[in-house]
Symmetry: none
Subunit: 206 residues, 2 copies
Amino acid sequence: MERLTVSQERVLSFIIACQKNHGSPPTIREIALHFGYRSLNNVRQHLRLIERKGYIRLIQGKARGVEVVVGLDMDSGGRGIQVPLVGSVPAGKPITAIENREDSITLDQNLFKGPGLFTLRVQGESMSGIGILDGDIAIIRQQQAAESGDIVVALIDGEATLKRYIQQNGSIIFRAENPGFSDITIPADQGEVTIAGKLIGIIRKV
Amino acid sequence: MERLTVSQERVLSFIIACQKNHGSPPTIREIALHFGYRSLNNVRQHLRLIERKGYIRLIQGKARGVEVVVGLDMDSGGRGIQVPLVGSVPAGKPITAIENREDSITLDQNLFKGPGLFTLRVQGESMSGIGILDGDIAIIRQQQAAESGDIVVALIDGEATLKRYIQQNGSIIFRAENPGFSDITIPADQGEVTIAGKLIGIIRKV
DNA sequence: TTGAATACTGTCCATTTGTACAGTATAATG
DNA sequence: CATTATACTGTACAAATGGACAGTATTCAA
């Protein structure tokens, strides 16, 4: 994991201290006040960089919308990483802005390394051909681009679906791994293809 | 301490759950949304009463300004549970005594509750018909008995295999969920059937 | 019956808070 | 030297949020 700068580390440890002491992370203004920063954007910049390095997750538009993903002291007992379980993925918005987070799930961080992980409950049997069943929890790494053959979370008609992503002479095909479902083909000229992330694992409770 | 009403207790436990899952308490609107209340004032009323009974403290004017003073039961453990990943399952010995543990894996303890959990790497395609593939990590709860229909880790000829356990007029059938594999039938009189545990989940890394 | 406590709906407003935009400064790097 | 990443200042705005006011309904006990 990429290392934090001194300033960034100070900010992160203040966030962690706030959570310990008050049960909730600080606002941007509270951080600025604590360090004597006169600019909010300075704090935002720090938060963005800390997020990009995978230590925290920013939730767009929410008050105190920062979740600490990885503490400073590392291992700290659990070898687990907490990732959000989202109910659905609305189009357009980045994953970090998803409102309807139901819960969070602990993953083994040796198995699934961050940042940008989230989980999604699989609906339907469209991927049953490769052993992904209705009700499974899909583990997704957030990314916009994908390679042909990847299983991705695609936003089609504003709805999030798990499909195999295939590039074929310019067109893009979203293929369900189930004979009962047909391909969704996006012609080469038609631009709008949104990918929310790539499947990197699943969890099933039987 | 004065007791909470049913509605108040529901609200408080939601607040605690939010703090556990997201690291910050919910806003009034998030509480209202979660319970389907159409009035914010209703939630505020609840919060005021919960505060007056001493369970929480409200910080005026601050977003997510609620501190939980006293939890409902506060198990407060880490949300991860570590369970061994065993390479093979020798007959006779209890799982806790297994020598050849390769590694340990962190599970979400909300999803998979102990005790007696261990994990096993699935070898072969014998259960691919129900979405359990070669290389998957099977999550097993240690138990000797099983009900007909359970997926179990059975010790057959000293080898651990994942099979569906079926009781049929006295006989026991271990069935692979794959047309290419045939049943293993243990006649009624032949006693020696050892079950190491029951499948309660899987994890796959793609 | 009366009254108090609880459980709600609905609307409006002021504050808190996140976010965007427009900059400056410094250090490291090629 | 130009470029990039980081570390800041300062202003403005829209959304999120808490808080107040005005009600209604139900339960429960006096």
